[in-house]
C-alpha cells in the first residue's frame, strides 16, 4: 500500500502546488535555520583530540601578585598562558612525561620556485618534539627533530605539505634547506606533515579558536632564545614592565606561551599536580610569584575547551532560537496542512465508504506529509548549506560544513518534524464522519 499511498500523495501535491510549496517552504526555512545553527554549534563543540582528550593537559600557574584574584577565564585566578621562564622551567623539570611548550609567530618564507611570489607570510610555531605525537601530527615524510636538537636547538624545521610544495614544488623536501626569518636564516627540513589544522585549535586557544589555516612550519622550542621571534598572540601581565626586545620579553613576568603535558593515569596526574604546587611555592619563595595561595592546575582537553568558552552562551541561545523558529515554521505548516487536507475530506469519506479503515486513511495522509517533509528537508539542506557558507565567510573560518551525518540528520529531523506536524491534520481527516460528505456534494 505504501507505493499506492505515495502515488496518491504525489498526485495530490501536484494538484495543490501553491499550498504544497508553502508547506515545503515552511519546513525548509525551519530546517535550514536550525541545521545551520546546529552544524555551527557542532563544529564548535567538536573535541578534535577525541581519544587523546583525557590524557593531554594544559598547564596553568598562579604566576602573579596578590592583587589579581580575578585573573583567568573562569574566575579561578589562573591565567591561560605562562611566562617564558615558567615554560623553560617546566620543560627542564626532572619528569619523564611527554610535554611541550609553544607559541606562535609569523615569518616570511622564501620560495625556490620560479613563477611564484618570491616570499610569503606563514604562521610558525615553536614546539618540542613531543608535540607531534601528543597532538597527532601525521608525518608524510621524515620525522621530528632529534632529542638532542630538542635540548640544544638547531635550525631544523618540520613543514606542512602545502608549504613544502610552495617552496620546493614537491611534497617530499626532507633534507633540503630553505630561507626563512628576515630572508637570511637557512633551515633544514627534517619532516613534512599532512596539513594540520584541528578545529577548534585546542592546542593553543590564546590565538584563534578557528584559524583558517594551520601552522605552516614548526621549529624547535629550544631555538627560541637564538631565533628571537616575537609572539603572534596575546601577551598579558599583572604589572607593567618595559619590554624593548625579545630578550626583555623572555625575562619578563608577562604570560604569552602555553604548555601541555601528557599524563596517562591518575597517579601521574597527582604526581604532576604535586609538582606544580611545589614549583609554585618555590617561585613564591624566590619572590617571583607573590601569591598567598601558590598553586597550579592541569586541565584536560574537554575541560580546557569549556574553560575557554570556545562554545559561548550566545551560540547555545542561537541554537535554542533556531529550534524555536523551526517550531514556529511547523505550527504554520500544521495550519497549511489542515487547509490542504480539509479539501480532501470528501475523498476521504468516499474511501471510507469503499472500505478504507481510519488507519489506512491516516497512513495515506501521513505518507503525503512525509513526502512534503522530505522535500522540505532537501530544500532546507540547500538553505543550510547557504547559511553555513555565510557563516564561513563572516567568520573567515573553514569550520561548519554539512557532513553526511548532518545531511542524514536533517532529513530525519524534517521527516520526524513533518510527521509530527501531520498527525493533527491527518487525524482530522480520518476521524471525520464519512456520511457527512457522501450526501452533500
Amino acid at each position: 500500500m505504501l507505493v499506492y499511498y505515495s502515488k496518491l500523495a504525489w498526485r495530490h501535491i501536484l494538484q495543490t502546488p501553491v499550498l504544497s510549496l508553502l508547506i515545503v517552504m515552511a519546513i525548509a526555512l525551519g530546517i535550514g535555520a536550525s541545521m545551520t545553527m546546529i552544524s555551527y554549534y557542532k563544529a564548535m563543540a567538536h573535541n578534535p583530540a577525541e581519544e587523546r582528550s583525557d590524557s593531554l593537559f594544559a598547564v596553568q600557574l598562579a604566576a602573579y601578585g596578590n592583587d589579581m584574584e580575578e585573573w583567568g577565564r573562569d574566575s579561578d585566578g589562573l591565567p591561560i598562558q605562562l611566562t617564558h621562564q615558567d615554560v623553560k622551567n617546566l620543560r627542564e623539570a626532572e619528569l619523564s612525561f611527554p610535554r611541550t611548550g609553544m607559541y606562535q609567530f609569523m615569518t616570511v618564507v622564501t620560495s625556490q620556485r620560479e613563477g611564484v611570489a618570491p616570499s610569503n607570510d606563514y604562521a610558525g610555531r615553536f614546539v618540542d618534539r613531543d608535540f607531534f605525537n601528543m597532538f597527532d601530527v601525521k608525518f608524510l615524510y621524515g620525522e621530528p627533530w632529534s632529542a638532542q636538537v630538542d635540548k640544544e636547538g638547531d635550525k631544523h624545521a618540520v613543514i606542512s605539505k602545502s608549504l613544502s610544495e610552495w617552496i620546493f614544488g614537491e611534497a617530499n623536501s626532507v633534507g633540503k634547506t630553505f630561507v626563512m626569518i628576515d630572508g637570511e636564516m637557512l633551515f633544514t627540513v627534517v619532516g613534512v606533515y599532512e596539513d594540520f589544522n584541528p578545529q577548534p585549535a585546542y592546542y593553543d586557544l590564546s590565538t584563534s579558536y578557528f584559524p583558517g589555516e594551520g601552522p605552516g612550519v614548526f621549529l624547535p622550542y629550544s631555538s627560541v632564545d637564538t631565533l628571537g621571534r616575537f609572539p603572534m598572540g596575546n601577551i598579558s601581565g599583572w604589572f607593567p614592565e618595559e619590554v624593548n626586545s625579545h630578550a626583555d620579553l623572555m625575562k619578563s613576568e608577562y604570560v604569552w606561551q602555553v604548555f601541555w603535558v601528557k599524563l596517562d593515569n591518575e597517579e601521574q596526574r597527582e604526581q604532576y599536580r604535586a609538582f606544580l604546587k611545589a614549583y609554585s611555592e618555590e617561585q613564591n619563595k624566590l619572590g617571583r610569584f607573590q601569591n598567598p595561595n601558590p598553586r597550579g592546575d592541569i586541565k584536560d582537553v574537554k575541560t580546557w575547551l569549556e574553560y575557554n568558552e570556545v562554545i559561548n552562551e550566545d551560540n547555545k541561545v542561537m541554537v535554542g532560537l533556531s529550534l524555536l523558529f523551526l517550531l514556529v515554521c511547523l505550527v504554520n505548516a500544521v495550519g497549511l496542512l489542515l487547509a490542504k487536507f480539509l479539501r480532501k475530506m470528501n475523498e476521504a469519506g468516499i474511501r471510507r465508504a469503499l472500505g478504507a479503515s481510519k488507519r489506512q486513511i491516516f497512513s495515506q495522509y501521513l505518507v503525503e506529509v512525509g513526502m512534503l517533509g522530505v522535500l522540505g528537508g532537501l530544500l532546507g539542506l540547500i538553505l543550510a548549506a547557504f547559511g553555513l557558507w555565510a557563516v564561513r565567510e563572516l567568520y573567515e573560518t573553514d569550520i561548519a560544513r554539512l557532513d553526511p551525518t548532518l545531511f542524514m540528520g536533517a532529513l530525519a529531523l524534517s521527516l520526524f518534524a513533518s510527521l509530527l506536524t501531520g498527525i493533527l491534520p491527518a487525524l482530522r481527516v480520518c476521524n471525520s464522519n464519512p456520511s457527512l460528505f457522501l450526501k452533500a456534494q
Binding site: M1, Y4, R11, Q15, N346, E347, G349, I350, R351, R352, A353, L354, G355, A356, S357, K358, R359, Q360, N433, P434, S435, L438, K439, Q441
Partner: protein
C-alpha cells in the same frame, strides 16, 4: 442478509437531541430487492449509513450476514464493508482527479487483491456497465448517467453480496434513470441483495418490497408482484 432489531440512533448537540431512528426493526433476505421511501428527515439516510456500517447506533442489534456488527472495531467494520457491501450514491461520489480505471480500483486496493486480479476485475466491471473503452477518461468527461454507471461498476468490482443505493437516479433524467434501474435489476437477478432509498414511487414499485420510514420507524411495508 440484514437484520436490525430495535435500532435507535440519536444525534445530540448541546441544545437538542434528534432521534433519527427509534426502535427500528427490519430484515432483508438474501437476494431481495428492497426499496426504502419516506419523507425528508424521516431517517432513510441514517438507516442506510448504519446498514452500510458508516455510522454506529446507540442501541439495538444489527446482524449483517449473520455477524453482530456492534462488536466490531473500525478495522473490522471497514473490512466487512469492503468485502460485503457496495455503495451507490445519488451524487455518484467518484474521485474527480482519478480516471475511471483508478476510481473502480479504489475498493479493490483496500481488499488486498493482486495487481492482475484488480486489473481483470476493473475491466470486467467497466465492460459490464459499457464503459470499458473510456477507462482512461476522467469523471468530468462523462455524462451524469455514465458517471453513475461507473459508480455501479466500482460497487460491483468487489462482487459484494449487498448493494446499498441512496437515490441512485435522483440526479439523472428519466432515460438514464431507467437504464440505471435496469442495470440494478440485472445485478439483483444475479443474486445480489439490494436496498435502495428512493423518492420515486414508480421505482419503488419495481422492487420486490417497499418499506416506508416515518419518524425513524418502519411505518408500512408493501410487497410487489415481482416478489420471490
Amino acid at each position: 442478509m440484514l437484520r436490525m432489531n430495535k435500532i435507535s440512533k440519536v444525534f445530540s448537540t448541546d441544545l437538542i437531541e434528534t432521534h433519527a431512528l427509534r426502535e427500528f426493526d427490519l430484515s432483508v433476505a438474501e437476494g431481495e430487492f428492497v426499496t426504502v421511501t419516506g419523507p425528508s428527515g424521516s431517517g432513510k439516510t441514517t438507516f442506510l449509513n448504519i446498514a452500510g456500517l458508516l455510522e454506529t447506533f446507540n442501541s439495538g442489534e444489527y446482524f449483517l450476514d449473520g455477524e453482530d456488527v456492534a462488536s466490531l472495531n473500525d478495522r473490522q467494520r471497514s473490512q466487512l464493508r469492503n468485502q460485503k457491501i457496495g455503495f451507490i450514491f445519488q451524487s455518484f461520489n467518484l474521485i474527480p482527479d482519478l480516471d475511471l480505471f483508478d476510481n473502480v480500483d479504489v475498493p479493490l486496493r483496500y481488499r488486498g487483491f493482486s495487481s492482475t486480479e484488480r486489473k481483470d476485475r476493473i475491466n470486467y466491471a467497466l465492460e459490464r456497465v459499457g464503459l470499458a473503452a473510456r477507462a482512461k477518461h476522467l469523471p468530468s468527461q462523462l455524462s451524469g448517467g455514465q458517471q453513475q454507471r461507473v459508480a455501479i461498476a466500482r460497487a460491483l468490482a468487489g462482487e459484494p453480496r449487498f448493494l446499498l443505493a441512496d437515490e441512485p437516479t435522483g440526479n439523472l433524467d428519466s432515460l438514464m434513470a431507467r437504464q440505471v434501474m435496469e442495470l440494478l435489476e440485472e445485478i439483483n437477478s444475479e443474486g445480489t441483495t439490494i436496498v435502495m432509498v428512493t423518492h420515486d414511487p414508480d421505482l419503488a414499485r419495481r422492487s420486490q418490497r417497499n418499506i416506508q420510514i416515518i419518524d425513524g420507524q418502519v411505518s408500512d411495508q408493501q410487497m410487489f408482484a415481482q416478489a420471490v
